[in-house]
Structure formats: structure tokens, C-alpha cells
């Protein structure tokens, strides 16, 4: 892996050299494009045949494959517990408190504190479509924020035609609720535009992150298609949860989109028309966050520059009936 990193560094350096002042000539070439291989963060849940979460599994219980190539897990975490480093022999040791951090996994993403808790981005639809249920939705989101694990961080974004960053990512619940309560009702709904911008922000944050969308579905202003936004979420490894305040059958297109987008990113869609159902949906999202596993790995050499299929397998025989919910794969980003 280190060799690959060095190679990439050289490619970048050569590209930069080629563009320095004075070296420009007509014959000069554009810098070569290569695939940039970042650390992959993979979050998934394991449930039994009755849909109950399965907890207590260990790194050695899992096998992660990318296009069929077995990957070496770098870190492992369950729920909001601190991540542990997975050593070559399969044993683990705590990341937090490791002296000097010199043996931590490489890079910023590998910092111990980056893997504690979840960065939850809430995307709240304040368009005209939500006008009637605006205040109840606000209450339900406030409850959700209060109920998040202490280790989690939360950001509150709202949208109608444009996105508004009501509260930046914070561990201070009051600050987040303050931002939430400042939201104003808007006009058109550009859900997928806003979701894309939210994903772009989330992608910049190291560690585990999810997006929880609270909307009733219709979109009358987005320029980007749900599937393109889904692809970004998939590539960035960010599960999307959607709580729709609409009934499934009221808007079958939006419902189908929500199902597809959430399933493909490892999240879930809830159709919760009543306030009580919305509270239950938020509770379920919280449970999901608390009962999921997060592993990180640096992908093994793979010539595939397109979509790489991820498979999570449980090694032990007992667990063969378990169901795993994870994103199906990702596309490595092009690097310059």
C-alpha cells in the first residue's frame, strides 16, 4: 500500500512539475489521471432472521471483499464504541490512547478521535410541501437530536429551493436545536440538490457519517437526479436515511426513489405520516446507528477503476442466516 501511495505522490509531483512557470511548451502533455485510493469506511448492520440486530461480533467474524479480493481490515468499531485497530494477526488493540499515535493507521482519516461516534447530518425539508407539518417535524427532529449518543456530532441543514446550513457539525445539542428552531418555511423543494450539497459537506468530515433526510418527497426544483446523488453517497460511503411524512401510495415515484436511494447506500426509508410514526422512525434510525459495525480498510491493489463491488461475509457457520445491510460498492475517485 505504501508503494502505491508513493507512486501516486510521484504522479502528482510530475504533474505539478510539468505545469510550473517556464516549463510550458507546445509539446507539453496534460497531467496523467490516476485513480486515488482513499481509506474506505464501511458501515453495515447485521440482523437475524427476525430482523433483530446482532451485536457482539468481532473483526475476525467478518470477511470484506472488493471485487472478490479479500481486504485487510484496519479498524473496527461496533455502534458508538471507540474503534480498535486490527492487527495483522487479527487481534485488536485500542486506538485511543496509543502512545504518540505513531502506530495509528496512516492519514488523517485514521486519527482515533475521528472514528468515535457518528457525524449525523440532518436535512430538513422546509419547503411549501412541508408547510402543514413543519412544527411537528421540528419537534420530532429536536427529540432525535436530544436522543443521539453523547459521542455523536450533529449538523442541521434545511432546504427549500436552496440549502441553508442552520447549524454546523457540533456535539453541542443546544447549538444544533438552536439552529433547527431558526428554520424558516420556504417555497420550492430541491431535495436532491440539497442532498448532494449535504453529501459534499459530509464527505469532507473524517470518520463515520450518515445523513437523515426529513421530507415528504416531492421535488420540483432539483437539477440532479436521485440516482446521481445516490452514486455520490455510495462512493463516499455515507448511508442515507429518509423519513417521509407522506404515505407510500400517495407519491409512488418519490417512495420508490427513497427506497432505492436508502437501500443502495446502506440506510433505510420510513414512511411516517403521523407524528408518532415519525418519532418511531427517528428511534429506529438511532437504533441503527447504535447497532451498526464500522470497519475501515485500505483497498488492496485492484485494476478496476470503475465500480468496485463490496461484499461483507460472516465467517462463522452459526451466522450464515444473518442478514447484512451495507452499501454495495463504490467508485474510486479520479486523482490529478
Amino acid at each position: 500500500m505504501k508503494n502505491l501511495t508513493m507512486l501516486l505522490a510521484w504522479v502528482l509531483l510530475l504533474g505539478a512539475w510539468a505545469l510550473t512557470p517556464g516549463s510550458r511548451t507546445w509539446a507539453q502533455e496534460r497531467p496523467v489521471f490516476r485513480v486515488k485510493v482513499d481509506m474506505v469506511v464501511l458501515t453495515f448492520t447485521v440482523t437475524d432472521s427476525k430482523g433483530r440486530y446482532v451485536n457482539g461480533l468481532k473483526p475476525s467474524d467478518f470477511r470484506i471483499l472488493e471485487d472478490g479480493i479479500v481486504q485487510k481490515i484496519a479498524t473496527f468499531a461496533e455502534g458508538n464504541r471507540p474503534a480498535v485497530q486490527v492487527l495483522a494477526d487479527g487481534s485488536t488493540r485500542p486506538l485511543i490512547g496509543s502512545p504518540g499515535g505513531s502506530e495509528d493507521p496512516k492519514g488523517l482519516e485514521g486519527r482515533a478521535d475521528a472514528l468515535v461516534g457518528t457525524n449525523v447530518f440532518i436535512l430538513f425539508d422546509t419547503s411549501n410541501y412541508m408547510y402543514r407539518g413543519f412544527v411537528y417535524a421540528s419537534d420530532a427532529i429536536a427529540d432525535f437530536i436530544r436522543g443521539l449518543d453523547r459521542a455523536d456530532s450533529v449538523a442541521v441543514y434545511t432546504f427549500s429551493r436552496n440549502l441553508s446550513r442552520a447549524a454546523p457539525l457540533t456535539r453541542d445539542r443546544n447549538e444544533a436545536i438552536l439552529g433547527l428552531r431558526k428554520a424558516v418555511a420556504g417555497d420550492d423543494a430541491a431535495l436532491y440538490n440539497a442532498l448532494l450539497l449535504c453529501l459534499r459537506d459530509a464527505a469532507k468530515v473524517p470518520g463515520r457519517k450518515v445523513i437523515v433526510v426529513f421530507s415528504n418527497g416531492p421535488d420540483n426544483a432539483s437539477m440532479v437526479a436521485p440516482d446521481d446523488v445516490r452514486a455520490v453517497a455510495e462512493d463516499e460511503g455515507i448511508p442515507i436515511y429518509v423519513i417521509s411524512t407522506n404515505e407510500v401510495n400517495k407519491d409512488p415515484i418519490s417512495s420508490a426513489v427513497f427506497r432505492r436511494i436508502t437501500a443502495r447506500t446502506g440506510g433505510r426509508a420510513y414512511f411516517a405520516k403521523t407524528w408518532q410514526k415519525q418519532v418511531e422512525a427517528f428511534e429506529s434510525v438511532r437504533e441503527d446507528l447504535g447497532n451498526s459495525y464500522t470497519v475501515t480498510y485500505y483497498p488492496a491493489p485492484n485494476p478496476n477503476e470503475g465500480f468496485r463491488k463490496i461484499t461483507v461475509e460472516i465467517v462463522s457457520d452459526v451466522a450464515k442466516k444473518y442478514r447484512i445491510r451495507a452499501r454495495p460498492g463504490y467508485r474510486p475517485r479520479p486523482a490529478f
Partner: protein, 1128 residues
């Protein structure tokens, strides 16, 4: 790199101190070479090393002054101290004089008064002795009270919270008029909209809260258990869940009330927190005092039914609001005269006319000022029926005449100046043109709709051109226009005009007909044709020939959107223009729709690149015509995809050749270089970044490079000669094709067919996906014919890459759509939906907002690509304020103005020249506060671009020495124009700015003049001038207009680039950096606009200045770091 140079320079300066005079000379030399940062460093060092050297201090202070550095005051002050100890009285007076002005600009009146004393003590006697600079006591005018805090009311009323309190009622009035009421379904009465219902409910809730707050006007809840908590929560629509303490949570109990609570910004989260921690909650809840024109009684007197609070009456009466809005647009003197002379009920009846067309009314000394001045007064008297000498009576009659047509004519003429105004206000002609506008039936008037309906008249008066003989410019000749009206290609324009056309003998006859058409509610095609062809001629040294004009006029409906292309290369010949028309007709005849789309796309993409390269000067004017003719030639007859591919490839070769690129270069790389700006950029790093941004976009769109496509085409030819198959090359293309995914939709095929949406574009992508090159080549073997067919199969791929290069060039900052939707370029629909023909129409954004589709896409030609891309991107802007308005029409134009011009060939001197003009203007404004004669001239100059009400505001501010307020009311364009006018008159103050401006212009007259500056720092105006050429037209900001919303207003806003240029000059940035910085600064400006309505350009100005101030602060911090580094 620059920082290192500065540090080295600093070290050298400290090691080898130069004599004072040498330093000054050296610094001037550096500055002249465009190395202002180095000059600054040198002077600073010298001033530190020789603090008693007056020459050095003076040079340093003047240097800082020229670059608008606030530190100039401090250095001048030191200099004054030094001079005080000498006998140089005149130098002392000059320094003190400058300090007076700088202090006024900084808003420091006490400092200004102090320096004024010093100035007089040194013998300065320029300003009258009676000038006193104390702050006058603020005179409090009438006001009303609105329940609750300003911010809450503003949120609920959809008014920007940055609105000054004095303008709140006018802003509210506009919202009430446009959004407050709608036609009722049952009867003729208006019924309140949801906006109005919520606002009224909010006021009711605010009153309850005021009562709760008691006499102290403070909402106080001592603890969670206190009885006030329950009562407050009831008013707010909430209740507590959980026991008092950390468990307590507020939840909605009354959704209507809770909505108002949240939407008005009541601090419900803080209340909840106080209850949870059992601490007192204290919130000041005072009513808002809002200044009101003439007092509430005046307005309440206008109502048919009296009584109630002013705010309730105001909200309930849109006509009253409109009157308030109309009167608030007049300057105070004029409004006062009208108010005194005309009963309020009568004014109210014509409030809509006053609102739209009253902004240019002016009464001075009881006389109405009319367009055309004294010469036209008699004609106005005849038209209105009252002499302009009876000011108020004249305007009263004007607004009541002909349903507003005469007022709108007055407005259209009053807004312009110069020879066209003289031509149009020639008394007989003016009356004749008005009678044409008025027609026989005046209803409906132009002030009835939501937007002003005299759009075409404004366009005609603003864009009419006169020939050197003083007659209007008529493209071609009068016969062509007569024939157009008589034998019109698409049906009659107007029966009466068609009959009259045969009698036309003079250009005035045609202009009269165009005025007559201005009153039509439908699209005014002849005027548009006239303007488009006049604009083509405006840029050409030789006007279009009559036959060309005739052909273009008749093809306008189909091809009008394409005509702006010719304005980027005024040397293009009539023959080539006609060749373009022929090519479009030939393409339209292609029966195979896929081939037709590919041919149109390829041709338009090549012409688009040609247009960009001509605009940027990469293709010299002498080569432009031949290049266009050459690339168009094969498109005269395209029979199959092979020919199309060859035509595309030939076009690329011609473009590169015309730009001087040797034939052996790789086409894609060189085209990217050229599209980024210039072949030999002055700042290679900045250039490389632009190229990289474009490359990223092409990668995100998964487009195949021209290099690969042409290499493959050559290889196919070689295979025919028996060469060996290059598998690596084939695989490279195959893998890229394999990445193409069809856009996934959630519609069934039946539904999709029913909508017919995306049918053609999906076919285009599907055809590419089916392309199996390897198999096709294997099947073809060495058969040259079959291999040529495979070359033809590359034509759609070539089209996409060429189209992609256009997209990449115009990509707005952020370019979220281009980075996210990998099919965006390929989805460009050159045909349009079935049954329509969009091929040559302006680019349009289509299909946004359907979760079920494959995302928005662009439809039509590439002629409006820059605008359409900006339009698609505007909803990805993230406003900094929760309620800010991202403003359709204005924002795309702002983005377009930041993307189309490039500044590679701009010199630091040109940028500094703009900066000096701004500085000179600011200085003039400051001096005008002390010198009444100069004030008169400044205001006179300002009145050519600003509306009378604003000129009056500036005058009032200057009268009380509030220079900052005056300066903040002036736009950068107005400031630049003011400096220019005073300089050209050679009667203004001769200070260091004027001297430097003249010196620079004299030293390089061909590079530093107003024409060059117009080209460098102007804005493109595709709607107003049919051209993407950046230029300054010195336009008065136009209002929103029917049919164009705020697009024309946005194009008339010419201030941004001038402002950025002056800012970059202050920070000593190299002009090439503007290519990267202006798009980014523009994005920040858009995100910080906090506007109330579509004509709220003061909000744009505020945002521009706020962003500029932030940039300045950051740059000064960096300069301090540089200084520190050089010291160390």
C-alpha cells in the same frame, strides 16, 4: 513565490539603505512596472529607516493613498507633524487638506475638524470659513409602531433584515402589492394570500406577547414552575412535556401559533433551555419604531373607511401600499410638492402609474423638469395639457393621462441621455412618436400588470443608434423594412402599419412604426430584429449589406438566437454570415434525426469554440472570417456520419491553425489551453488551474479526448492499408464507452413514451453504448469502406467532446451539475421535444425537479449556454442568511459576467487606472461636502445614472458632511463615470489621483483609455446588446420588466467587475489572478445578497461591499505577516 520576493526585498532594503530620493524614484519605477507590492515594501522600509525624511514620508503616504490603504492617514499625520516643525506652509496646508478629506471618508468628523483647523492655520483658504463639521442632531420625523421586534416582523413580512428602518414600509408595501392579495374565485374582490394571512396572524400574536411583556416591554419567566411559563407557552403554541428540570421538552400543542413562533424567529430554543435549567428567561419585546413619510394621518386619510392602527389599515389596503411605494420613489422635494397640491385620494387612484413611472419625476422651484429640457417644454404642455411650469399640476395630469401611456413614454425618455435623447425629444418628432405609442385605445395601460409593460419602449430608447448625420441607423435600407412589414414571413405584425409601410420615405417612419408596436402586449418581433441587426452593425466597421440584412431579418424567428455569434468577430464577412444561414438550412433538411442532432451539435460546438477564441483574441481578427467559413463549408451538405466526423475533425484543425497552433500539436491539449484564456498566459500557474478545472469536468463527463478519437480515426485508415490492429487504443475507448450508463428513471416505458421526454437524448447515449469497436473492426478486416463507416460511428462521440469543451469553458463556479451528472453533456438535446424545433433556439434548462427523471438537461442550441449553465447552477448556491433570496435572472447574469470575460491580457496599469478613478471619485465626493460648486457638479454627473431620489439622498448626506453615507449610496459604475466626466471636463480638483490618471493615459494612450477599460472591465449583455463582448455602456440600472423579469436589470448592473478591479489593485494582485478570483468572489457575493425583492439592487451593492471588505481585511492581515517576515 511573491512572498519570498517581498521578504528578500525587505532584507536587501535593510542591508543597503538608499537615499530618500533614490528610494522614491525606485519605488515609482517598480510601481510603473506593475510591482506595487515591492514598491510598497521599499517605501515602508525607507519610511521606517528615515522617519524624518519628509520626501520619503510624503511618497509613502501618497502611495498608500493611491491604493486606498487606511494606513495613509497615519502616515500623512506623521508627515504633518514633521512639516509643522518646518517652514513649508504650502506642503503643510496640502497635507492637512488631504487629511480633512481622508477623515471625512473614514467617517471621523472630529478628526476632519481638527485637520481643517490645521489647514487654515497653514494658510489654506479654499473652503469657506463657516464650514463646521460637527455632527448635526438627528431630526426625528414621524413614525409608527409595529408590534414586536424588527427582525421578527421583517422575517414574517419577507423583508430583508438588512433593510434600514426608514425603508421598511416601502419594502413592505411592495410585498403587499405583489404577494399580499389574489383574485377571489367567487367575486371581484381580492382575497388575502397565505403570506398575508400569516403576517396578520403574526401581528396578532405579537400584540398578545406585548401585553404579556407588560409596561416594561420585557417577557420574563422566572422559572419553569411559574404561572407565566404556562401563559407564555400558550401564546407561543407550545406546552411542556416532562417534569420541570432537565427532562422538560417543548412540544407543539397549537400548530398555527407554533408556526408563527418559529417562523418569526422567537427564541424558543433559548426558552426551552431556560426551562430545562430552571433559570429565568428574559426577552426584550419592544414595539418597533418605523419612520413613516408624512405621518400616519396622511395615509389614513386616503382610506375610504377610517379607524384602526396604521399597520392594520396598511396591510388591508394594497392601493394605499402602492401609493406609499410610489411616493417613496420620488425625491423629497417632488413628493412634497405633489402631496401638497394633489388630494391624497386622487393620488391613490393613480398610484400604480406613480409606482412604475414616477421615479424620474422632478420638480425644481415649482417647475417640472421634462425630457428634452426647455426646447421640449411646449410639446410636453401640448401632450399633457398643462405647462411644465406648474410642476405638481403637470405631473398630476401626466399620471392620469391615457391610462399611463404618456407617463411611461416620459419615463422611457427621461432615463436616457446624449444624442439619442436629443433626437427623440425633438418636439414634433416626440409628439409623433407618442401618438404612435398611444394608439386609439389606451386600455389596458402599461402599469396594470405586475411588471412594467413598456419593456420594448425602454429597449428602443436605450438602444437606438444614430448615424454620424444624426439620423437613426437603419440596418440595410428602408426598403427592406418596408418589405418586411408588407411581405412579412410569418403573418401580419399590424394591419395598419402594413398599410402605412408603403408610404415610408424616412427613417423616422420606421422608428414611428417601432414605437407603435411597443404598446402591443405580444412579442415585438420587428423591434427585436431591428435591435439585433443594429447591434451587429454597431460592432462592425462596415455595416451589413442590404441583402444580408434582408435574409437575416426574415430568418430571425428561426435563427435570431444565433446572431450574437457574429458580434464576437466583427470582421466576419457578409458572405460567411450567409454561409452560416445556408448551413443551418441544410442541417434542418437532414431527415435522420440522430444524424441531424449530431450535425447540429458538432457544428454549433465548433462555432462556439470559434466564438470563444475570437472573443479572447486567440484567433486574430484577420483570421476570423476564413476560419469560420472553412469550418462551416462541409456542413453545407452532410450525408452521413463519416462526413460529419471528417467535418468535425476538419473544424478542429482549422480552429487550431487560425489560433497559430502548429499542426503537429495534440488537439485536445491545445484547445484546452486556448479555451482557458490565451496561448501564452501571463500567469502560467493561474492558467494551469483553469485548464485543470476544465479537464476535471471533461473527466467527470467521461468524454473521450479529441486526441484519442483522431488517433483512432488515423488508425482505422491505417488498418485499411494493412497495418496491425492497435488493441490498446481500442480498449482505451471501449473502457470509456463501457462507463456510460443510461440515465435511470423510475418511469415505466409507457409513461416515458407518453411524456416523450428525453427520447432523442437517450437514443444518442444508447447508440454510443451499443458501439462495439473491436467487433466492428474485426468484421471490417481491411475493407476500407467498412472501416470508414466505423469512423462515422465516432461522430457522436466527437460531437459530445466538442460540446463538452464548450460546457467546460462556461462552467460556473462549483459546477455541481457537471461534476455529479456524468451524462449532462451527452444529454444536451439539440432537437427538442417531438413537435418542436429547438435546434437554433437559445439554450434552455429543461426537466428540473422530477425525481423520476434523469436530472435536468439543456435543450436547444449552444447560443445561450453560459447563461443556461449558470441558471442550472444557481440553486446550488448556499445563502448565508436563512431567508436570503437567490435571485433567478440576476444570479445567472452575475455568474456569466464573472465567467465570460478573461483578464490574461489586462496589465497592472490598466487595473490601477480603474482603482485611481474610484479613488478620485471618492475624493471628489468628500470634497463636494465642503465645496458647494463641486457638489453641484458631482450631483449633476450622478444624476445621469442615478434616479433623482437617490441623487437627493446623496445631496442630503453631503450637506451634513456624511461622506460615508453619500459614498455608500453611489455604485462603482457611477463612481467611475463621475471620475471620468470630471476628468474629461478638466475643471475638477487637480490632486494626486487626477495627475496620475492623466500621466498614465499620456504615457500609453493606446493601452490606457476608456475604450480599452470598457472592454477589459465591462460586462457581457446578451439580451440588451445581443453580444457576449464585455463592455461598459454606463447604463442607469433598469427596473424589472415584463417578459424579462430582472434579466435586463441584471445586465444593466455594470458595477461588479469595476469594483473587483479596484479591489485587486488595492491588494496589488496580478490581473491574471482575476480569472480565478472573480468567479469565486462573485459566488460569495451571491451567497451574501440579502434582498427583499427583484429590484433590490442596493442589497447587491451591500453584499459586494461586504465581500470586498472581508477580502481587504484578509489581504491586510497577510501583508502584516509579510512585513513581519521581512523584519525577521
Amino acid at each position: 513565490m511573491r512572498r519570498i520576493r517581498l521578504v528578500v526585498l525587505g532584507v536587501l532594503a535593510s542591508l543597503h539603505p538608499l537615499a530618500g530620493q533614490d528610494v522614491v524614484a525606485r519605488a515609482r519605477e517598480l510601481e510603473r512596472r506593475g510591482e506595487a507590492a515591492e514598491a510598497r515594501q521599499l517605501l515602508r522600509r525607507a519610511a521606517e529607516n528615515a522617519p524624518h525624511d519628509a520626501a520619503v514620508l510624503s511618497a509613502y503616504a501618497e502611495f498608500l493613498d493611491r491604493y486606498r490603504d487606511p494606513a495613509a492617514r497615519e502616515v500623512y499625520d506623521k508627515l504633518l507633524g514633521l512639516l509643522n516643525r518646518s517652514d513649508q506652509r504650502s506642503a503643510r496646508a496640502a497635507t492637512a487638506r488631504r487629511l480633512v478629506l481622508l477623515s471625512l471618508m473614514a467617517g471621523d468628523r472630529a478628526g476632519a475638524a481638527r485637520y481643517l483647523e490645521a489647514y487654515r492655520a497653514a494658510g489654506g483658504g479654499e473652503w469657506p470659513a463657516g464650514v463646521r463639521l460637527e455632527t448635526p442632531p438627528a431630526a426625528e420625523g414621524p413614525y409608527i409602531e409595529i408590534p414586536g421586534p424588527f427582525e421578527s416582523f421583517a422575517r414574517m413580512a419577507a423583508v430583508s433584515q438588512e433593510t434600514p428602518p426608514g425603508e421598511l414600509l416601502a419594502a413592505l408595501a411592495r410585498n403587499v402589492v405583489t404577494n399580499g392579495y389574489q383574485a377571489s374565485s367567487g367575486n371581484e374582490a381580492l382575497e388575502p394570500t397565505e403570506y398575508m394571512k400569516l403576517l396578520v396572524r403574526y401581528i396578532s400574536q405579537a400584540r398578545e406577547l406585548e401585553r404579556f411583556a407588560g409596561a416594561e416591554k420585557v417577557i420574563r419567566v422566572e422559572s419553569c414552575e411559574s404561572p407565566q411559563a404556562g401563559e407564555l407557552l400558550r401564546i407561543l403554541g407550545y406546552r411542556m412535556r416532562g417534569a420541570c428540570g432537565s427532562e422538560v421538552v417543548l412540544e407543539t400543542v397549537n400548530a398555527t401559533r407554533a408556526f408563527l413562533t418559529i417562523d418569526s424567529g422567537f427564541p424558543v430554543a433559548e426558552l426551552e433551555q431556560a426551562l430545562r435549567t430552571n433559570r429565568p428567561f428574559v426577552y426584550e419585546f419592544k414595539p418597533t419604531r418605523v419612520p413613516i413619510l408624512y405621518g400616519a394621518d396622511y395615509w389614513l386619510g386616503a382610506r375610504e373607511k377610517g379607524g384602526g392602527d396604521f399597520i392594520d389599515a396598511y396591510l388591508a389596503d394594497p392601493a394605499l401600499c402602492r401609493l406609499y411605494l410610489g411616493l417613496s420613489k420620488l425625491d423629497r422635494e417632488t413628493a412634497d410638492e405633489l402631496r401638497k397640491a394633489v388630494p391624497v385620494q386622487r393620488l391613490r387612484a393613480f398610484a400604480h402609474v406613480l409606482d412604475f413611472y414616477g421615479g424620474m419625476f422632478e420638480i425644481r422651484n415649482g417647475r417640472a423638469l421634462v425630457p428634452g429640457g426647455a426646447r421640449a417644454e411646449r410639446a410636453w404642455e401640448e401632450l399633457v395639457g398643462v405647462s411644465p411650469s406648474k410642476g405638481a399640476e403637470f405631473f398630476e395630469r401626466l399620471i392620469s393621462k391615457d391610462d399611463g401611456w404618456l407617463a411611461s413614454f416620459f419615463d422611457a425618455l427621461a432615463r436616457i441621455h446624449g444624442p439619442v435623447k436629443d433626437y427623440l425629444t425633438e418636439p414634433e418628432r416626440m409628439k409623433r412618436f407618442y401618438m404612435a405609442v398611444r394608439g386609439r385605445v389606451t386600455s389596458p395601460g402599461p402599469a396594470r400588470p405586475v411588471f412594467r409593460a413598456n419593456t420594448e419602449m425602454l429597449l428602443l430608447t436605450h438602444r437606438l443608434r444614430l448615424d454620424p448625420d444624426g439620423r437613426p441607423h437603419i440596418p440595410g435600407n428602408l426598403e427592406i423594412w418596408k418589405n418586411l412589414f408588407i411581405k412579412h414571413p410569418h403573418g401580419k405584425y399590424d394591419g395598419r402599419l402594413t398599410r402605412l409601410a408603403s408610404t415610408w420615405t424616412q427613417p423616422d417612419d420606421l422608428i414611428e412604426a417601432l414605437f407603435a408596436l411597443c404598446r402591443k402586449a405580444v412579442e415585438n418581433e420587428p423591434l427585436k430584429i431591428f435591435m439585433a441587426l443594429s447591434d451587429i452593425n454597431r460592432y462592425r466597421s462596415k455595416p451589413l449589406e442590404a441583402a444580408t440584412v434582408d435574409r437575416l431579418a426574415r430568418k430571425y424567428r428561426d435563427l435570431g438566437a444565433q446572431y450574437s455569434i457574429f458580434n464576437d468577430a466583427p470582421t466576419v464577412s457578409d458572405k460567411t454570415i450567409l454561409q452560416f444561414v445556408d448551413a443551418t438550412e441544410s442541417i434542418d433538411r437532414i431527415r435522420n434525426s440522430a444524424l441531424r442532432a449530431d450535425t447540429a451539435g458538432t457544428m454549433q460546438a465548433l462555432v462556439g469554440i470559434w466564438q470563444i477564441l475570437c472573443r479572447q483574441g486567440a484567433i486574430p481578427a484577420s483570421e476570423a472570417d476564413a476560419a469560420l467559413a472553412g469550418l462551416l463549408a462541409p456542413f453545407a451538405e452532410i450525408n452521413d456520419a463519416k462526413e460529419l466526423f471528417d467535418a468535425g475533425r476538419n473544424g478542429v484543425a482549422l480552429l487550431l491553425k487560425a489560433a497559430g497552433v502548429p499542426a503537429d500539436q495534440r488537439p485536445q491539449d491545445r484547445l484546452l489551453d486556448l479555451l482557458a484564456g490565451t496561448a501564452q498566459p501571463s500567469d502560467p500557474d493561474a492558467h494551469a488551474r483553469l485548464v485543470e478545472e476544465m479537464t476535471r469536468i471533461l473527466e467527470a463527463q467521461k468524454l473521450i479526448s479529441l486526441n484519442t478519437l483522431f488517433e483512432l480515426a488515423d488508425h482505422l485508415e491505417a488498418l485499411g492499408r494493412g497495418e496491425k490492429l492497435n488493441t490498446a487504443l481500442i480498449n482505451r475507448i471501449a473502457s470509456r464507452i463501457a462507463e456510460l450508463q443510461l440515465p435511470r428513471t423510475f418511469l415505466s416505458s409507457v409513461e416515458r413514451n407518453a411524456f416523450a421526454f428525453g427520447y432523442w437524448t437517450e437514443r444518442h447515449i444508447e447508440a454510443q453504448r451499443r458501439l462495439n469497436l473491436q467487433a466492428a473492426i474485426e468484421r471490417a478486416g481491411t475493407d476500407a469502406g467498412r472501416l470508414a463507416e466505423i469512423r462515422g460511428s465516432l461522430a457522436p462521440l466527437l460531437r459530445d467532446t466538442l460540446v463538452g469543451l464548450n460546457y467546460a469553458h462556461y462552467a460556473p463556479p462549483g459546477a455541481q451539475v457537471l461534476y455529479t451528472n456524468p451524462q449532462f453533456v451527452r444529454s444536451h438535446d439539440f432537437l427538442g421535444m417531438q413537435g418542436t424545433n429547438q435546434t437554433w433556439r437559445a439554450t434552455d434548462v429543461f426537466g428540473s425537479g422530477w425525481p423520476s427523471n434523469a436530472g435536468g438537461r439543456l435543450v436547444g442550441s449552444l447560443s445561450g449556454l453560459a447563461y443556461a449553465l449558470a441558471e442550472a447552477e444557481q440553486n446550488f448556491m448556499v445563502p448565508s442568511r436563512e431567508q436570503a433570496l437567490i435571485w433567478g435572472d440576476l444570479v445567472p447574469q452575475m455568474i456569466l459576467s464573472a465567467k465570460i470575460p478573461r483578464w490574461w491580457n489586462v496589465s497592472p496599469s490598466q487595473m490601477h487606472w480603474v482603482g485611481l478613478h474610484m479613488r478620485y471619485a471618492e475624493s471628489l465626493v468628500a470634497e463636494a461636502s465642503l465645496d458647494s460648486e463641486l457638489r453641484r457638479r458631482v450631483l449633476e454627473s450622478l444624476s445621469r445614472l442615478a434616479l433623482p431620489a437617490r441623487v437627493r439622498r446623496v445631496a442630503s448626506a453631503l450637506e451634513v458632511f456624511d461622506v460615508r453615507e453619500a459614498w455608500n449610496s453611489i455604485t462603482p459604475l457611477e463612481a467611475f463615470a463621475l471620475a471620468r466626466e470630471i476628468l474629461e471636463s478638466k475643471t475638477g480638483p487637480e490632486n494626486l489621483f487626477a495627475a496620475e490618471i492623466r500621466r498614465m493615459a499620456a504615457e500609453a494612450p493606446d493601452r490606457i483609455n476608456y475604450q480599452v477599460i470598457s472592454r477589459a472591465f465591462g460586462t457581457p449583455k446578451p439580451t440588451l446588446t445581443n453580444s457576449y463582448q464585455p463592455e461598459l455602456l454606463y447604463l442607469r440600472t433598469l427596473p424589472t420588466l415584463m417578459g424579462y423579469s430582472s434579466r435586463i436589470m441584471a445586465e444593466s448592473w455594470e458595477s461588479n467587475t469595476l469594483y473587483w478591479a479596484a479591489l485587486a489593485d488595492e491588494m496589488h494582485l496580478p490581473p491574471a489572478q482575476l480569472n480565478l478570483l472573480i468567479p469565486e468572489w462573485t459566488r460569495q457575493t451571491v451567497e451574501r445578497i440579502f434582498a427583499t425583492h427583484l429590484e433590490d439592487w442596493p442589497a447587491v451593492l451591500r453584499s459586494l461591499r461586504n465581500v470586498g471588505e472581508d477580502i481587504r481585511l484578509r489581504a491586510r492581515k497577510e501583508m502584516l505577516v509579510d512585513q513581519k517576515a521581512s523584519l525577521e
